[in-house]
């Protein structure tokens, strides 16, 4: 059963990676990152249950992934707002372009 959960996590991570690599818009890139963190949560929960249920480390890893997701979202949106306000773009390719 652990293998099945890890396969699910691997599939979610791959889908998220595809999105994060291929999308141009900052918000869509963030959605890819969220899917990858989702995969981390599933994997951490499954590994906790099957290999080390006596310690809470697996559960804490799920919480850490959730926290990372929230911070990533809040900061991602804040930076996007700041860039958008200054430059009127929300596309990663243009944000890397340093000329104003």
């Amino acid at each position: 059963m652990l293998e099945a959960f890890l396969l699910l996590a691997a599939a979610l991570l791959a889908v998220g990676l595809y999105g994060a690599l291929s999308q141009q818009s900052v918000v869509m890139v963030m959605m890819g990152l969220e899917l990858m963190l989702n995969a981390v949560m599933v994997a951490a929960a499954a590994v906790w249950f099957h290999t080390s249920p006596h310690s809470a480390d697996g559960q804490l890893l799920v919480l850490a992934a959730m926290l990372a997701m929230a911070v990533e979202m809040a900061m991602g949106f804040a930076v996007t707002i700041a860039i958008f306000r200054a430059r009127d773009v929300d596309v990663t390719d243009s944000a890397g372009d340093l000329r104003g």
Binding site: L63, M66, L67, A70, V71, A74, F77
Partner: protein, 115 residues
């Protein structure tokens, strides 16, 4: 250990109720659906509503996303606070005080106002 089968069953019951209403309406209602422009108080509709929409409270969303992560820790904390004693209360409310300080800062900057 919790059983979530009742939750699944209740979801089935609730969905069946909603589908039943739609089914009854399909049997009882009169005529084909009428396709009409959205109600605009009589004004002609000049564009789709589902276009870019600037919310004026975007700063609140950022604060909320950060602050609500605190609940992730507070719910399990509830189970141990009586046993761990005053030290646990101090830890949690110290943590909360830090976040409230950020809320006060945001208030002072006017982040809760529509801009």
């Amino acid at each position: 250990m919790d059983s979530f089968w009742p939750a699944l069953a209740l979801f089935a019951v609730a969905s069946a109720g909603v589908l039943g209403l739609y089914g009854a309406a399909a049997l009882l209602s009169v005529g084909e659906p009428l396709v009409r422009e959205p109600y605009m108080g009589g004004s002609p509709v000049s564009e789709h509503a589902v276009s870019r929409f600037h919310v004026r409270w975007y700063a609140v969303t950022l604060l909320f996303i950060a602050f609500d992560m605190e609940m992730v820790f507070m719910y399990p904390w509830v189970l141990v606070v009586a046993e761990k004693g005053m030290h646990a209360v101090g830890e949690m409310f110290g943590f909360l005080a830090v976040l409230v300080a950020a809320v006060v800062y945001a208030w002072r900057e006017g982040a809760f106002r529509w801009t």
